[in-house]
């Protein structure tokens, strides 16, 4: 408290602060707040992008929930995608992070290598390569052929297309992995030593020490990955374009299609706001649940 008072008297420091964040602030107002207000307005209009928007009140939102079967389908696909990919991705990231949390020769190189898919993550090239790997003539089927299994086209088969996309994002586990790695490094070694002395098995150590100590990091990754999952776009857009038969129609892809292919910007804006609400809701739920499973050492276990 004392410190705070001191700072307040130094208004010049405030000015310094604002000066330094000015470029960001201007960008934030111009490129985020401005467009958001505009899109909120558009969501209540009938706007075809080319002629002036006309006010229609809540009609877009009502249509969405009462008449639009593809909206429901997009929600369904997106939920399956998020609930399928996020836990898998986090589990895999944690697993690999623990492998890398050792002092082995060349571990630095491996860390870099495993991070590469994430750097390339959103890129068009990876999506195209994925398409080739899992296509009918792709590498996966060549491998399966060795075992005498005849593959199908994994990206255009209605039964497998979504799973193929989930596999792609799970493979891009690099950034949560790095964050896990940092979290693992921060766990004091004494805890493990003490547990080992008491005869705790590695599995028990993992359950009783690693997981609780890592819970704030897991929490952070969970929130970030969930939000990212809801907004996923590139994978579906480039590899399957929502098809076949809307089986991989991600929410963001549907939104994009409405806005730019069907000239329905008003409806697309409404879709965007629903997506924002969904993300907010899930983030809030995770935060709420965090009280019961996230352990902060600094708060004495609270």
């Amino acid at each position: 408290m004392k410190k705070k008072k001191q700072l307040r008297s130094q208004r010049s420091i405030d000015i310094t602060g604002f000066t330094f964040i000015a470029p960001w602030l201007i960008g934030f107002l111009g490129f985020i707040v401005g467009p958001m207000i505009a899109s909120l307005y558009f969501s209540f209009t009938n706007y075809d992008l080319l002629s002036a928007p006309s006010w229609i009140g809540f009609e877009n939102y009502i249509t969405m929930f009462t008449e639009d079967a593809r909206f429901i389908q997009a929600l369904k696909v997106t939920f399956i995608f998020v609930f399928g990919s996020v836990p898998l991705k986090l589990a895999f990231a944690l697993f690999v992070a623990m492998l890398f949390n050792t002092r082995r020769k060349g571990v630095g190189l491996y860390r870099t290598l495993y991070y590469v898919p994430s750097i390339l993550g959103g890129s068009v090239a990876v999506a195209v390569v994925w398409r080739e790997l899992f296509g009918r003539e792709g590498a996966l089927n060549d491998v399966l052929a060795i075992f005498g299994i005849e593959g199908t086209s994994w990206v255009t088969s209605p039964d497998f297309a979504l799973s193929t996309l989930i596999l792609l994002v799970v493979w891009q586990f690099g950034s949560p992995m790095l964050i896990f790695l940092a979290g693992l490094k921060a766990i004091p070694n004494e805890l493990y030593e003490a547990a080992a002395v008491d005869g705790a098995s590695p599995f028990l150590q993992f359950i009783k020490i690693t997981l609780p100590m890592l819970s704030p990091v897991i929490f952070f990754n969970l929130v970030m990955q969930t939000i990212q999952g809801f907004m996923a776009f590139t994978q579906s857009f480039l590899i399957t374009n929502g098809g076949p038969m809307d089986r991989t129609l991600f929410y963001a892809v549907y939104l994009y299609e409405k806005a730019f292919a069907h000239f329905d910007m008003g409806y697309a804006s409404a879709l965007a706001w629903i997506l924002l609400l969904i993300c907010a809701l899930f983030t809030a739920l995770i935060f709420k649940s965090a009280q019961s499973w996230v352990y902060y050492e600094s708060e004495g276990g609270k």
Binding site: S12, T19, L50, A261, H262, F263
Partner: protein, 446 residues
């Protein structure tokens, strides 16, 4: 110490403000001087004129078009043309965004399916005045080539090449199977029977790559004397769902009997170069446009043949000359006359068309066609011959698709075409579902 810091800060703030404000004001000045220049330009033709052109296409097309643009700039030193180009993917999104910002290029490549959408939103210029005064010279072009770009007698788009829908087959595979290749006048029943024989006789190849896409559908409906869309664009153009049911059933039968390739063989073929016929996996591809022969034959590396679509017994001829793509001049253009001049050059200039090499379809100007014919490679010759032959079987083209047609086509792909390939719906269900939802979309047209 403190004071010094404060004044330093103030200075920094000042600098920032100056940068920010001057950034804004120079932009303002630019706009002002721009419009000033333009006023000068229209008065004085000696001044530099800048045109922007947007098109979609393959690398092959980009290279050819860029070369023509360079030639044009050499001949007209007062014109600078800046090209913008992409593939088909993303093209319409890009254009819609530019249109929304009032920033469309002067000349845009236009597709028959989108023409009404853009004319309906008042974004394209009627080119008739330029034709009348001779800036846009269409004197060497027959009406049948121009018609497609007209809506209510106004010319909104100039055809860049004529196309005819057709099928392509691999003569070597037909020979291997000991089956006579199709000849004009063959029917849908013929396709079913020789496709089955091909599949049976060939080792590791199927008879046909089936299709229930909108292009063959349009063809089939025309053979029945109706169109996909009603003339007023407010509903589908046919009343009887049985037409679509029959059309879909043909393909369903062929997939079930093994005459046609199963969907996982062709569904992940993205471009024309990746179709199964290229690798010899099928002997026939039923859905192609004549200008695509050039690309597919060079990808296959062996001769393929173009053939008319199957005929319907007792039906009309479904073929028509389709503008492959157009150039249109946009409302945002400040130099509409110059834009028209460039399109005229693109249409009539012999050297330019030698470079373009009919890659966009058979040229519409008679002299250009005659000039090019001798210089073409085999695939080009086949394409020219095919378009010529198809003219004898052609009826007038349907009016351009109505507004909302792109949405209807998405609907068709997702809820009719794909589920039919995978056997997830019956033709009856698909036809009824399509009618209901398509009419809902089209009913929005006033």
């Amino acid at each position: 110490m403190f004071k010094k810091r404060k004044s330093l800060l103030l200075l920094l703030m000042l600098v920032l403000i100056v940068i920010f404000v001057s950034g804004c004001s120079t932009e303002g000045e630019d706009v002002a001087s721009d419009s000033g220049d333009d006023a000068g330009k229209t008065e004085n033709n000696e001044d530099q004129i800048e045109l922007r052109i947007l098109w979609w296409g393959s690398q092959n097309r980009h290279d050819r078009t860029l070369e023509v643009i360079d030639r044009y700039m050499e001949e007209n030193p007062n014109v600078t043309i800046s090209p913008e180009f992409t593939g088909w993917d993303g093209y319409w999104e890009k254009m819609a965004t530019q249109a929304a910002g009032g920033n469309l290029p002067d000349i845009v490549q236009m597709d028959y399916a989108y023409l009404t959408e853009y004319v309906g939103r008042n974004l394209l210029v009627d080119l008739n005045p330029f034709v009348k005064e001779g800036t846009l010279d269409l004197s060497d072009v027959e009406d049948v080539y121009i018609e497609g770009g007209k809506i209510n007698d106004s010319l909104y788009a100039v055809n860049l090449g004529a196309n005819v829908h057709g099928t392509v087959y691999d003569p070597a595979l037909f020979e291997e199977a000991g089956i006579e290749p199709p000849e004009p006048g063959y029917t849908y029943e013929d396709v079913q029977s020789f496709a089955k024989k091909l599949s049976d006789n060939l080792d590791g190849a199927y008879g046909v790559q089936p299709t229930v896409g909108t292009n063959p559908l349009k063809h089939y409906l025309r053979q029945n004397g109706v169109s996909l869309y009603a003339p007023d664009g407010k509903s589908l153009g046919y009343e009887d769902d049985q037409l679509l049911v029959d059309f879909l059933q043909k393909t369903v039968d062929m997939i079930e009997s093994g005459a046609a390739a199963p969907p996982d063989l062709f569904m992940d073929a993205g471009s024309i170069e990746q179709q199964p016929i290229v690798n010899g996996d099928t002997a026939m591809l039923l859905d192609i446009f004549s200008n695509q022969l050039v690309a597919i034959e060079s990808a296959a590396g062996r001769p393929l043949e173009l053939m008319l679509d199957p005929t319907l017994e007792g039906g009309e001829s479904g073929h028509f000359l389709k503008p492959s793509q157009f150039f249109s001049v946009t409302k945002d253009s400040k130099h509409q006359e110059e834009a028209a001049k460039f399109i005229s050059y693109f249409t009539n200039n012999l050297e330019a068309n030698e470079v373009l090499n009919a890659e966009r379809g058979v040229p519409i100007a008679g002299t250009v066609r005659d000039h090019l014919r001798d210089k073409l490679d085999d695939a080009g010759k086949k394409m020219f011959d095919y378009v010529e032959m198809a003219q004898d079987y052609a009826n007038p083209i349907d009016p351009p698709d109505p507004q909302g047609a792109t949405e209807v086509e998405t609907l068709y792909v997702r809820e009719v075409e794909e589920p039919i390939y995978y056997g997830q719906v019956t033709p009856e269900e698909a036809a009824a579902n399509f009618r209901e939802k398509a009419n809902e979309i089209l009913a929005k047209n006033e």
